[in-house]
Symmetry: C2
Amino acid sequence: MATTQTRRRADAERNIAAILDAALVSFTEDPQASMAAIARAAGVGRVTLYAHFPSREVLLEAVLDRTIAAAGEVIEKVTPGEGPATDALRRLLQSSWHELDQHRKLFDLAQRELGATRLRQRHREVVDHVESLLVRGQQEGVFRSDLPMAWLVTTVYSLLHAAADDVNAGRLAAEEAAGVLEATLLPALASR
Amino acid sequence: MATTQTRRRADAERNIAAILDAALVSFTEDPQASMAAIARAAGVGRVTLYAHFPSREVLLEAVLDRTIAAAGEVIEKVTPGEGPATDALRRLLQSSWHELDQHRKLFDLAQRELGATRLRQRHREVVDHVESLLVRGQQEGVFRSDLPMAWLVTTVYSLLHAAADDVNAGRLAAEEAAGVLEATLLPALASR
């Protein structure tokens, strides 16, 4: 039996979901998309939009967080914690690229609006998967231990995003990216 | 014997140099630095500033171009076209990092204001050195030929800039960066 309060909460959640869906599409199609345009696309009033997301930046961060959380779930499904570490890294790269490829334009916008440091901070969840796997591979002796762990994580993170930039700029075919990343990162990370 | 015209040209050149010097310092110390503040720091009027650089973006691009051109000259001095390609790559990485390290904040700002694609375009001059060296190393058989050349160039370019981001974010010590870049890039680029 829905009380007024639970009905209101359900309305709010529906609105938030509609806004995040609309914002993802809007930001991807037009990086300049205004809050007014996003409210229209979401079918909510501007007052409702601003009640949930007081600024364009807060909204962009929320869209990004949801996208990265979804990527984290996809990465978990390929079980990077299981099997030989090198094979697990291949699966992790494939699934990470697949997710990133779908949101290349969003990340390009986020890089500009939030800057490199804040964008990286918001990736904590996916970056943690990379770090755990690298640590496990070091313990197995297949990944190198001669460089700081933070740098090895940066190497994976930054080449993935560099591949997205290259696809955006027309320098790399999207279908080639996963293979090229694997061929570059495996020797860069391997122990000798 | 200076004519009025050559005197005027000399004045203009002096002003432009003063503006670019002041803008480099201002952008580095405060990414939000206004055109008015830069004019003040350069000791020129706002009218003069805008006559040479009609917008903040045009000014930022000019500062960036001058910085990258200077880096290109430093890289040339380490003669990347001479000696074994692997040794030449070490020298190129060392000198590139040295230049980039001095301008980490400027590049962070430029990445945000211009976006990844335009920032990369403005690096043509230094990126050409990387490409020539990689081609030479392929001919010598020491660098890999199994991946697109544009991607190998991206790998070098993006890891250099990722190191700058890591130093900016406090994840990597500036003194460690050149060594870490060399240790990562040599195996990533080596032929097998």
